[in-house]
Amino acid sequence: MSRKEIEHVERHPKVILICDKVDELGGVSDVISSQITAFRVLTKFRDIKDVIIDSAPHVLILAMPSVSASIELYKTLVEQGLLDYPHENILLCENKESGVGFRCCMKHIFCDYFVYKPMYENYRLRMILHNALLRCENAHDTTHIREEHFGNIDESLKQLIDDASAYHTDAQHTLSTARKNIDQAKGVNDIQTALMNELKAQHINPLLDQLEQKLAMSIEELTNSLKNKQLSLAELSALLIEKSLPETNQKVTDYQNDKPAQNKPEAESQYIKIMVIEDNEIYREMISKILINAGHNVEAVSSGLIAIKKLKKQKYNMIFMDLFMPELDGYNTTRNIRNISHCKNLPIVALTSNKNKDLIRKWATLGLTAYIAKPSTKQSILKAVEKAKRAIAS
C-alpha cells in the first residue's frame, strides 16, 4: 500500500477514488481530501467491493488508466449489484481522452468528468465534487423520507409541501426570467448602460439572491416540519402498539428464572437462520461465532441498509440488531424491515447498552422480542434465540 493510500483510510467514506496508480493521483487526492474527510482511495477490487458493501459511498470517482478501463470496472460493480443505491459517479481521464469522457457523460454513463492529466483547474474538480455530494445528500434524504414514512404522511401537510414546492419552482423560474431580462437590457448610450450595470451589480442581483435564498430556507423549514410531524406520529403509533405487546420490552435476563418447557414445539429443537446486524466487526464476529457454534445458520452484515436489501431477497428466522449504526440506526432499520411483507412478525433482538432505555422503549414498540445489554454473555444470547424460536412456534 502506498503512502497516499494510507493517508485516506476513512472507515465509512462518502467519497471513494478508485484508481490503479495512486502516485499519479496525488494532486487529485489532496483536492478531494481537503474538501471532505470521509474519503478513501482504493486500488484493489476486493477493497472496493468491501467498502461499497459496508459504507455505500455517495460518490465514486473512477480514475483507471483509460476511460474504457473505468467503464469496465463500473460495469462490473453494477453487474454484481453493488451499486443498487443512489450514488454519483465521476470519471477522471487524461486530456487525450477528454472527448471520450464527454461522450460518456452525454450518454449518462457518468454524471461528470474531469481531466486530471494535466490538472489545470482544481477548482472545477472541487465544484464537480461539491455538486455531486449535494445531489446525493438530497437524493438520499428524499428516498429516506419516502421509505420511512410511507403511508403515515399527514395529508394537509403533504399538500402544503407540494404547494410550496410548486411555488418554489414557479418563483425560481420567474426570478431566472427576470435575471435574463435584466442582463439583456441595455441603455440608450454607454453611460446609461454603465449605470444600469452598476445598479444590477449593487442592488438588483443581491436582491434576487436574497429572494432565492429565502425561498430555499422556507422549503427547508417546511421539510423539517414534515419530518418532526412524522416522528411524533410514529411515537404515538408506537405507544398504541406497545399496549398490545406486553413482552416486547422485556429483558432477556428476565428469563433466567424461566422453567424449561416440558413439551417443546418442533421449531424449538431446530437450528434457525439468523441475521446479525452490527457495525462493529469485533462484536459482530463474536456474536456470529456464538450462534454458529450453537449450530445456527448465520449471516452477519455491517449496516441496516445491507440488511434490508438482503431481507427483501431472503427469509430469516430471527435478527440480532445493534441500535447505533451509521447511515440507518436500529430503530429506522426495524421500521423498514417491518414494511417487508414476510418480515412483519420476524423476531428481532436488540443489541444495545443499558443507558438507552428511552430509545429501546421507542424501538420496542416496533415489535422487539428482547433486548440484550452489550457485551452480554453466551447464555443470554442463546436464551434470546430460544425466545425467538418460541415466538416463531406460536
Binding site: V9, E10, R11, T37, E278, D279, N280, E281, I282, Y283, E285, M286, K289, I290, D322, F324, P326, N354, K355, K374, P375, S376, T377, K378, Q379
Partner: protein, 116 residues
Amino acid sequence: MHNKELSDLKTINQQVMIDLIGDDKAEIAHFQQQFLRQAKTSLQHIAQLYRQEQFNKIKDEAHFLKTSAKAIGAELCAYHLQTLEHASLAQDKVKCKQHIHNLSNELKQVYLSASG
C-alpha cells in the same frame, strides 16, 4: 460495568470474554489483537477529528470503539470512551483532550496486558 466504581474497573477483565465466547485462549488473544488494531486506527481518527473540532464524529467514533472495548473486557478503556462521548456531546474541547490522553494511556496498558 455501569454499576461498578471506577476503582473496580480492570484494564482487561478476562471473565467478560470467557462469559461471551468461552475460554479458548487462542480465540481470546485473536480478539484482543483485533481490538488493539481497531483501537489504533480509531485513536488516530479521533485525534484528527479533535484537531478539526468535529465533536459529533468524535462521539460516534468513541461509541463505536466502546462496543469493542466492552466486548473484550477492556473496562477502563470503555470507561474513558464513555467519558469522551459525554465530553464530545458537550463540545468540551479541554475535557475531550484530557479523555483522549487518558484513553491513549489506557490503550498502552491494554497492549501490555494482552502481550503479557
